[in-house]
Structure formats: C-alpha cells, structure tokens
C-alpha cells in the first residue's frame, strides 16, 4: 500500500506562474536543542529552490554556545521575597501562565524554560526586564541562512530583509525591542514599494529599535526626516514653491492625532505642510541619497497651526502635534491597542495620559503601565500577526531561520515585513481568511520539518498510548498550555487513530502518522494562533 511519506510541501504556488518549481533535495545538518541545555546535530532533508552548487554548505555550522534554551535576558534571580506592585497593576498570581502571556504580547513567546525564569522575577521585575534592557541585543543560536546555506544579504537579496528581521525576533535577548520595532513599523507604516533601497528600510527599522522606549517627540522627529519616510510620503518633494501635503496629513491623521476627532482642519494640514518644507535629496544610480535640509527651499513665512502662529519648521511641526490636547489620548489608546484588545476604561486611559504627559512623552513609562495592567493578564486573547506566530513557533520548536520559505509563507499569510499594505499599516482585523488560514497551516508544516517523524523509515514505538502521543507532541512544541477542550479534541484524535490500526504492520507507522497529525494540529490550534 503506497501511502506517500509526505506531501510535496515544497511546491510553492507561484503568482502568475502555472508550473510549480522544481526542487533539489539533499541532506543537511543543524543544531537542535538536546533538552539538557546543550545541542545535538540533527540531519534532515533539505529542499533547495535553486540547484545547489557542488560542495555547498550543508551545516551544521559552529556549535552554538551552551544554554540552548536561551535568549533569556538576565540570570534567573531567586524568587522575589515580595513582589510589590504599583497601584493599578495586576494583583493576581504571576506564574508561568502569566509570564507566557507577557512574553507573547511583549515579545515572541517563550523558549524552553524562559517562562519559569520570568515568573520567578515577579510582575514588576519581569516587565522591567523587558522594558529596560541593557546594552546591545545579543542574538543566541545559529546565524540565519538562506536556502543555499549562505549568510543573508538583507539589503540585496529578495526576501532576505524579511528573514533578517524574523531572525532577530527568534534569537534576540531583547524581545520587546523587536516587538516595539514591529509595532512602530505598523504605526509609521512605510513600504519598500516607494523607497529606493532596502537598506533605507532596514535603517528605519533600526531607528525604531533605538528609539522605541524613549521620547515620542524625539522618535516622531527622527521618523519625519528619515530617508525612507521622506520618500514614502513625499517629504522630499515638499518645497516652498509647491507644498506637498501628504506627510502633513498623515502625521496628524495616523501618527499623532487621529481622524474624525476634530483635532485639525484642512487649513492646519496646508499650514503644516509649509512648516515641513525644505527637505530634499539627490538622485543617482542607487536611487535617492544625500537627504538634507535645504534652507532656501524652506518656507520661512508665518504659519498658523492649531491656532498657534509662528515661523514654524519641521521640528515645530512635530512638537505642535505632540503638544496638541488630543494627542495624549490618541497615543495611549493606540499603544494600548497593540497589547490589549478593547479600549481602556476612561479612568485607566486618563491615568496613562497623565503618566505620558508627566514623563515628558516617554514611551517606556506608558508601556510599563500597560504591560502591568490586569486587562493584559485577565482579558481576552488577540490574534497573533502572522510574523509573530511564526517567530513564536520557531522559538518553541528550537528552530532557526534556515529557509527562504518564510518569506512567501508570511506573504501568503498577509504580512511581508517592510511591505505593509499602505500607510495605515496592517489591518489586525483581517489576519484570517481562508487563503491566509491555509498559509498559516502550511507555515506550520514547514516549521515542523525535521521535527515530524518519518512514518515509514523510523521505527516508531508500537506501544505508544494516546496520552503518551499527545505528551510527546506537546513536548516538541515546548509544552504550550492548551484549552481543555482542545486538549480533549487532540486526545480523541489520538484514540481514534489507534482504532484504525487493524494489522500488525500498521502499529508503528500509524502511530507515527498520529504523532505528525498531533504536531500539526497543535501548531494550528487556536491556542497557538492567539496570544
């Protein structure tokens, strides 16, 4: 009976191309966690999308340092004798479940052992370990590789920008920095579609990393004159002779004040555009470069914005937005929305606004309060963005970035980094349709490569019980907590599968297939899609 060992998981449906691409298979080697804090070499079948060169890199590369489990930040402190929490903070128990949720919302989920470590720090210590990282981020584990086993060329090779960032999400010891950079990439959404070089996109993401905990005004100013943003919203085509209103509008509507709140008028936009005039650049073979402020191109006349009159320039334009009475509520509600579903209660929002204004528009101050709010730990779940789900899965599975498949799989799932759909960013309410759900399913399939068992070649345990099967599958996934009804559904599957075994020869292979089915379903369970 010819049951295929596996489906052609590598056959990528190509846009505008009928024929599926040929793949070349060979054996590669990689380091995987050995479960005891070390690493072991694992062989697996590698599928090249281009014909590999003879003698190409097949792994496993240098052995990663011990402490496989990882990128945990600080050394585990002894459990705090007391965990004093500020007023308004979550007051319930802070155990592993809460630590997982914090790591998931403020990062990319736990690696093995990380939740327990974080839980031991108490709520305040845990939050601050994320919001107050010290020094540059450390990336732990094997460096990312493309399909040919070569190092990435993020600014030059198709999709490597996406892989470069995904890898940082997977391996960083400062997950909130990457998560905030992703949030700011959505907040100040800029797409490579209208930016000359991918390096300018990467530079912008580094700007987000460097300023994500500091002053919103400083960040706003830096973004306003960032070369990628200047191109994307025509700040580089805004001269005193011909003002372009694109950035002036979006800086108010999307970045600082919000539409339909009566915060600004069309006149304010036109005046603000004049204040922003003067930025320009040169054009060459590489595209746009040499971005600079040209005083002669700046409108030095008097402008009136939000009723305030002066000889405003671009720095004033940002300050006027931030000083607008409707900005604090916009800021705290928008930041809140990335971490907690549903709007904050009025008194909660007002408290956050006071913190924000009182701290001089410090992002970290608001962020720490949000990350300690009871709504985060006790409230309903949110759908993970596709990239967040993928990074979470790779961390749980102990895998790393070693294939370009993540680029098109994320694109099919609706989130290609550096290519947001438009200036308002990704729509978090439309992450799931039948096409995108299918992409998430297939992403799980790819993520399980090397982890799923070979039903026909491995000698699978012929005596494994349903309970043992589920336990094994959950352990491969880093023991995620499943809702009871999902766990029950999986146990039923395990039992039903066993009932199908009618012949002796089926005992091992069917159990192996069962294991693969359980692995697959855990990956696409609501528990792993939600955060």
């Amino acid at each position: 009976m010819a049951i295929p060992q596996q489906k052609p998981v590598d056959a990528r449906p190509q846009q505008r191309r009928r024929k599926r691409r040929r793949v070349w298979k060979d054996k590669h080697y990689r380091w995987v966690p050995d479960g005891q804090g070390g690493w072991r070499v694992q062989g697996y079948v590698y599928r090249h999308h281009h014909k590999p060169k003879r003698g190409h890199f097949r792994g496993p590369g240098p052995k990663p340092p011990r402490q496989a489990s990882a990128p945990a930040a600080a050394a585990p402190a002894a459990p705090p004798a007391s965990d004093p929490r500020p007023a308004g903070a979550y007051q319930g128990p802070f155990g592993e479940a809460q630590a997982v949720r914090l790591l998931q919302r403020a990062g990319f989920g736990p690696v093995s052992g990380q939740a327990a470590q974080l839980a031991s720090m108490g709520l305040v210590g845990a939050v601050q370990s994320l919001t107050r990282p010290s020094g540059p981020a450390v990336l732990t584990g094997p460096a990312p590789r493309d399909d040919d086993g070569n190092p990435l060329a993020p600014a030059d090779a198709w999709g490597h920008d996406h892989l470069w960032w995904l890898d940082r999400m997977v391996r960083t010891n400062q997950p909130l920095v990457e998560r905030m950079a992703l949030i700011l990439h959505d907040w100040f959404a800029t797409s490579n579609a209208n930016v000359s070089t991918t390096q300018q996109m990467i530079d912008q993401s580094n700007l987000f990393r460097g300023r994500c905990f500091g002053s919103l005004l400083d960040l706003f100013r830096a973004v306003t004159v960032d070369p990628a943003m200047l191109q994307w919203l025509n700040g580089n085509e805004n001269y005193k002779w011909a003002p372009n209103e694109n950035y002036a509008r979006e800086m108010m509507e999307l970045f600082s004040l919000g539409a339909d709140r009566g915060a600004y008028s069309e006149d304010d936009i036109r005046e603000q555009a004049r204040a922003l005039t003067g930025w320009r650049n040169d054009w060459g073979d590489v595209g746009a470069y040499n971005f600079r402020f040209e005083p002669k191109w700046h409108d030095t006349g008097t402008k009136t914005v939000f009723g305030r009159t002066g000889n405003w320039g671009w720095e004033d334009a940002c300050r006027l937005c931030v000083e607008h009475p409707l900005h604090p509520s916009f800021f705290v509600e928008k930041l809140w929305s990335y971490f907690i579903p549903g709007a904050p209660a009025t008194d909660v929002r007002e408290g956050l606004e006071q913190t924000y204004v009182g701290s001089g528009w410090q992002i970290r101050a608001v962020l720490e309060q949000i990350l300690m709010r009871p709504e985060l730990y006790e409230g309903p779940p949110m759908v993970k963005p596709p990239v967040v789900q993928l990074a979470t899965m790779l961390r749980r599975l102990g895998r790393h970035v070693d294939t370009e498949a993540w680029v098109w799989l994320c694109e099919e799932a609706g989130q290609r980094l550096f290519w947001p759909p438009n200036v308002s960013g990704w729509d978090d309410n439309r992450w799931l349709d039948t096409s995108r759900m299918r992409a998430r399913w297939n992403t799980v399939t790819y993520a399980l490569e090397g982890i799923s068992v070979d039903a026909w070649n491995d000698d699978y345990d012929e005596d494994e019980t349903p309970e043992e099967a589920l336990a094994r599958a959950l352990a491969s996934w880093g023991s995620p907590a499943l809702r009871t009804e999902h766990r029950d559904a999986l146990l039923e599957l395990a039992q039903r599968s066993e009932n199908l075994i009618l012949a002796n020869w089926q005992k091992g292979p069917y159990r192996a297939l069962r294991q693969n089915a359980l692995l697959q379903l855990i990956g696409v369970s609501p528990d792993l899609i939600l955060q």
Partner: protein, 455 residues
C-alpha cells in the same frame, strides 16, 4: 504630469507591486482634490481610524461578525432568492486608460492631447456604435465578443465630483456608494441578503486575499490563491489524515468566549469546509485552448469550477498587471490589456463549449480613467471618467452613455462622466442577479437602469 512623478518611484511601483502598497503615497502627490483621509476599502476602513479592536476580532472579520451592529440597510434584510447566475468581477487595478482601450481616434483633439500616445485611426478594430471610437489593438479579443453582441460598453463611466485618489475612488466602487464609512462591499451586501450560512464559495476571490467588494457582515465568503487546488499540506496521510481534519474542524465548531477565539474558529471551520468543497477540483481540463498566462489559468479553473457545480454566486479576480501608467504607458498597457482580453475571450468560449454561457456575466471595471492630456513621461495621470464592460452571452450588447468627446472636458481637464457606476450595479443586481437594488445600493431609486441583460 505632476511634479512628484519625476522620480517614477511611485509609478513603477504600481507596475511592480500591488496597488495598495503604493496607493497611500500616491494620493496627495499634487492632485487637485485630496480627500480628508484616504479610506481603506470596505471591510478594512475600520481599523484606520478605530484601532482599538486590533487583533481582537471585534471588528468585521472576513467571514462576517454578526456582533457588529450594522444598519438594516447594510446587512440586507430581504429574504433570500435562489439563483444559479454568477457574476464575475474583473478589476483593472490602478485606473486603466479608457482613452486607449476605446480610443477616440476620430476625435480631432485626441492627437493634440496625446501627441505621443494617441493610437492612429484604423490601428485597431472599429467600434460600431460610435465611429469616432476604435478598440485598442490589444483589445481585439474583446472587440470580437463585441462584434457578436456580447459586450455592453460604458465609454465614460464614473460619478459626480470624481475623486482622483486610487483609494477613495476604488473604495466607492467597492462599496457601491460615495462614502468612506462602509464596511461591507456592494456584492457582500447582496450575499448577506441571499447567501447561505454555510457556503464560503458563494463569494470567492481568486487573488489570495478577500476582495473588499465581497466583504459581508454575516455570510461566509472565501479567498484562494490558486485554482489548482486548496491543499493543506502535512506529513500525514490517510487514514490518519481524515481524522486530523475532523479534529481541525472540531477546533472550528467548539464554543467561543471571546471575539478573537471566535474569529479563529470561523476561519478554521471555513478553511476545512473549503478544503472539502474544493477537494479534487484542482486537476481540471478545458474544452478550449487558453493563453498560457496565470490570469487565463485562473479563468480556466473558474470555468471548470462552474462546470462541476460549485455553488458560487460572485467571483472576483484582478486583471493582470497594474494600470497606473504614469510613465511609459504604451508598452505596459498593451501587454496587460492583451493578456486580460484574450483570457476573457477564452473564458467565454470555454463557457459556450460547456453550455454554461447563459449563467455567467463578467463585469470589468477600474477606479477611474486617466487624464486626456498625456504627461511628460510618456504616461498619463489620474483622470475622471473611465470605462467599464459587461460581457456575456446574455449581455445586451449596447453602449451605455455616449462618449462625451474631448472638446469639452471637466473643470480639471478630465473626461466628463456620462454614466454612473451605481446605475450599472443596480441593473446588474436587478436584471442579472434578480435582486432588488434598493436594498443594496444607497439611493438606488435615483438611478435610471440601463438595460444590460437580454430578456
């Protein structure tokens, strides 16, 4: 040309990538009237301004979220009507140049406004209903169908006070109203009114994500990225595979206690339903020869889907390429237009060969036309009136609205509008889908209905 097109970064961006990726930056580039905020298409407009439901599944999900209080008008409250008619919407993304598709070669001002881009008289097939117009040579396939009386042409379609933002204008066409606040598409509202609670195929997008046109409030709809099958890959084979999918469907049917969870459940349920519905339909053959293009392949698959009786009512697909031709228009347009029209002709021949042609109507549209006067980079900027076509064996085959000529343009030097897209929608709803347009299109009573369908 507007000053901002100097870099070409925006324009070439359109041809290289999707409209949406560039549209935001494009709007606002020195255009005469920029709307207060560029809305997103139906179904997505919410998060732009109200982001508080982010990821929570609180807002309109793709399968609809019945928790959202929508007006009775938006949800559609009329009783369901059964129909085996199918409407296929083909979208020219970016604003196709109607003055190339139906070139006014007989208009004396044409060559003055288009010294480089004007098509010479006689270059393409004649357009019988207006001797001043002729088809683009690349639209010859469409001209063939026109000659058979299967094409109703709208040579200057649009709406009053045309908006030249891709986003806004496209949004209007998608929702069937000149507003920015709608969350449901005009065809989505139709599906909400007549659709089935369980059938995601009734509204199907072939482009990998859901078209806002079929965004519903309640009824399920689906998106696929290939007609070659809807496989969920795994390293599991039968008999265990069937058990695996049973459990996956179980994830979709369990009770929910949060909007986020119910969104995942709906997606799981619909995905598994679609997997079953489309099982085995990936391998199809066609009775006619199609051009070897991805677009034609989609249409070939669609014809096969119809032939095997998949329960579709509304299908959306994007025409190949981008049509925001600010620079070097002639070459880009020629290739993409040819690919589109030849695909449509093959699709029609396929349906005829299968005896299905009386069940399918194709509507081709774009968010606007382009400026009559060419710009300085061998391209054209955003205009007002554009073109649309209704195609099929049952199409009336009569021009709707005359070509207004190039001697009197509107205040922005754009082509004047002689037919309203909402009137076209009303006629398609009433004459083809046999559903009261008053319940779907706001202000429907104010539009005279052109006859689009043969009795």
């Amino acid at each position: 040309m507007s000053a901002s097109n100097r870099s070409h970064s925006c324009c070439s961006g359109y041809t290289r990538s999707q409209l949406l990726r560039s549209a935001a930056a494009e709007a606002g580039k020195g255009l005469p009237a920029i709307e207060p905020g560029m809305p997103e298409p139906a179904g997505t407009g919410l998060s732009r301004r109200k982001f508080l439901a982010r990821g929570a599944g609180l807002a309109l999900a793709v399968y609809g979220a019945s928790k959202i209080p929508l007006s009775a008008f938006e949800t559609g409250i009329a009783q369901a009507a059964q129909s085996d008619k199918i409407l296929v919407s083909v979208f020219f993304d970016g604003g196709i140049d109607s003055l190339s598709v139906l070139a006014p070669a007989g208009d004396s001002r044409y060559s003055q406004l288009r010294p480089n881009l004007a098509l010479p008289p006689g270059a393409g097939p004649a357009f019988a209903e207006d001797p001043n117009l002729q088809w683009h040579p690349a639209a010859a396939a469409l001209a063939t169908l026109y000659g058979e009386g299967k094409v109703s042409a709208f040579p200057a379609i649009g709406y009053d006070h045309p908006d030249q933002s891709h986003f806004t204008s496209r949004h209007y066409y998608e929702i069937g109203e000149l507003q920015v606040g709608y969350r449901t598409g005009w065809l989505g509202r139709y599906l909400d009114a007549v659709g089935d609670e369980e059938n995601p195929l009734q509204g199907l997008s072939l482009d990998g994500s859901l078209s806002p046109m079929i965004a519903t409030a309640e009824k399920p709809v689906a998106a696929i990225d290939s007609v070659d099958g809807y496989d969920l890959w795994s390293r599991v084979s039968d008999p265990i595979e069937a058990e695996m999918f049973r459990s996956f469907a179980r994830f979709g049917s369990l009770p929910s206690d949060s909007p986020g969870l119910s969104q995942v459940r709906r997606a799981a349920a619909q995905t598994d339903k679609l997997r079953q519905d489309l099982a085995g339909v990936g391998d199809f053959s066609s009775p006619v020869e199609y051009p070897d293009t991805w677009f034609s392949h989609k249409l070939a698959g669609l014809a096969a889907y119809i032939a095997v009786g998949l329960p579709m009512r509304v299908v959306t697909v994007r025409a190949p390429g981008g049509y925001d031709t600010h620079a070097d228009q002639a070459g880009d347009l020629e290739g993409n237009l040819r690919e589109t029209c030849e695909g449509i002709l093959a699709f029609q021949r396929d349906l005829e060969a299968r005896g299905l042609a009386d069940r399918v109507m194709v509507e081709m549209w774009s968010e606007f036309g382009r400026r009559p006067e060419e710009n300085g980079s061998l391209g054209t900027d955003h205009g007002a009136a554009g073109c649309a076509f209704v195609i099929g064996s049952r199409a009336k085959g009569e021009m709707v609205g005359e070509f207004p000529g190039l001697s009197s343009l509107d205040a922005d030097d754009n082509l004047r509008v002689t037919s309203d897209f909402r009137a076209m929608y009303c006629s398609l709803l009433e004459q083809w889908l046999e559903y009261d347009a008053e319940a779907i299109i706001p202000g429907a009573s104010g539009f005279a209905r052109p006859t689009l369908v043969k009795p």
